[in-house]
Subunit: 187 residues, 2 copies
């Protein structure tokens, strides 16, 4: 489902891109509240063409979410480059949330129930999780993050923040407050 790269006719490859672009845009803006027909129209194609490239709506969404995960992974890699362990951790957390904010579909995927379609994404999720784990570990080892902080807590915090990204509530304030709580105070 993910990458039938070569041996695609030129027009087909081009159209596939259009579909992905249109879908990314719409899913990001409206979550799952988007019709296949609308995606097709925006891509300048017919619905039939969507189904030639993706088995069904879930598969299409999964592909889009998978992309975002890849983006998150490179973001995490960038954070890992930072010399200061705390800076790396904070940059990861904030960068991740910042990127998630404008993508409703991604947030719903994280917050919502596990879906069968996510199977195709396990790899991307795992890759991301691995880096998170390293960054957390490093901050803990450096004595900058509470010793009992676990990678799961990263998930707790991020999901909590994402839940506050609709409406008027200020999720940054919430996260900042928590950062203060988990950072080991200067000795």
């Amino acid at each position: 489902m993910s990458a039938p790269e070569r041996s695609l006719r030129a027009d087909a490859r081009r159209n596939r891109e259009s579909v992905i672009d249109a879908a990314s845009e719409l899913f990001a803006r409206r979550g799952d509240n988007v019709q296949m027909e609308e995606i097709a129209t925006r891509a300048g194609l017919g619905v039939g063409t969507l189904y030639r490239h993706f088995a069904d709506k879930r598969a299409l969404r999964a592909a889009i979410i998978g992309r975002r995960f890849e983006a998150m992974t490179s973001l995490a890699r960038a954070a890992e480059e930072l010399a200061d362990p705390w800076a790396a951790f904070e940059s990861l957390l904030l960068g991740y949330l910042e990127s998630a904010e404008p993508d409703v579909a991604f947030r719903l995927a994280i917050l919502g129930p596990e879906e069968a379609a996510w199977d195709d994404i396990v790899a991307q999720k795992t890759a991301f999780a691995a880096i998170v784990e390293r960054i957390v570990q490093r901050a803990v080892d450096a004595g900058l993050l509470r010793a009992d902080f676990r990678p799961d807590d990263f998930v707790l915090i991020t999901r909590g923040a994402m839940a506050n990204m609709s409406g008027t509530a200020d999720w940054r304030r919430h996260v900042t407050l928590q950062l203060e709580g988990i950072r080991v105070p200067e000795r």
Copy 2:
């Protein structure tokens, strides 16, 4: 929509109760993922009867959510009785989350987007919010809760926790951690 109490034929009143019971049960367990027909069956009635009592599905759900808000309000009132301001605050927060945990529909209502149907519930929400505000204020005035803590922060924390009530994550841990962060340390 809410309370056409008197002047209902005996069987009608009885059936209305059955509908509410069945709907509460099912919405709580499965969120919006419940068919009107299923509710009718479980109530031992035909779908037509549901519609005699509630204009449509949203109205029914709104009524159910409204009830839960009333329950939350009395829970809040109980917390307010507590002499110790911090105990009152903590009891409110934990009690609220504890009650919300088993009610998927309520959680989705809190986490999800504003719906038009919520209009019928404004009163209940407001009543609850008023008590929260008082309890928070009292704890702040007593110097037990950070001076910059606002009622909105209560919302941030609870929504964050609710977002972590699915899956395996441990929302209590998350909340506990935050409580430590916002409580004013012993002098």
